[in-house]
Symmetry: C2
Subunit: 145 residues, 2 copies
């Protein structure tokens, strides 16, 4: 692909979010605010794909997210969402938190299917050093549980 063709491929016109995606993100915020992890599976597509910040290969299916997300949120202190960005079928939510007193910022990239279920969930965080600390602590808590 030539450079000019590549440039044209990126539309800057972002379509408004579907009702399914809006309902899905409202439910996600409710689950996080209330730590209602037992209802997370109802918000996930059967074939959901989860990408964590520390390893490239994703996790497939509901199982890994049900185990990993509660563990991550148990390690993160002072977790708060900030800016929101949207697309037709998804959202990017920016957050801040602390890990053992160290500040982190991150994003959740959440993609919904037509039923408003999460089909793809990517977490990215910075700085990278603290992400490795978080990852090690989450691993310990999952192993201990």
């Amino acid at each position: 692909m030539r450079k000019t063709e590549k440039l044209k491929a990126h539309s800057v016109e972002i379509a408004a979010s579907t009702t399914a995606a809006k309902n899905g993100i409202v439910e996600w915020h409710r689950i996080v605010a209330e730590s209602d992890w037992k209802n997370l599976p109802n918000l996930l597509a059967e074939d959901v794909v989860f990408h964590n910040p520390s390893s490239f290969e994703p996790h497939h299916g509901k199982g890994p997210m049900q185990v990993i997300l509660p563990a991550v949120f148990s390690v993160l202190e002072k977790f708060e969402y900030h800016r929101h960005f949207g697309s037709q079928s998804g959202y990017v939510l920016e957050f801040s938190a602390q890990v053992g007193g160290e500040k982190v910022t991150g994003v959740d990239l959440i993609e919904f299917n037509d039923e408003g279920k999460i089909k793809n969930f990517v977490v990215m965080m910075r700085p990278a050093g603290v992400v490795l600390t978080l990852s090690a602590e989450v691993g310990k808590r999952i192993a201990a549980a």
Copy 2:
């Protein structure tokens, strides 16, 4: 803030991007596609703030971005933008790339001022281990330049 109040604070209604932000992101895509780094300063606000993926503290002003971004793009191989998410004043651009043959994915969170100049630029990437490799290599190239 109580949990229910916190929940209400997150609007899922994302306003359409301003013309200034649209023009800004088109120019950003042009600069990246053409590696036209000499024109980057024209797209930056004087008080732009840059947050890299490896250290928490941001860089202030045009100078650091003019040095760091060309160095980062010289290390990243097979760089390609993918999903775009928008807000009234900014965009999130998802990308994939390679660092020494290792795959990474990342996001640029780009916030524009009313003149369409970048006022805030956050880069997050995963996996964290490869981010540290990238950061070390960028540091070497900047020191050598």
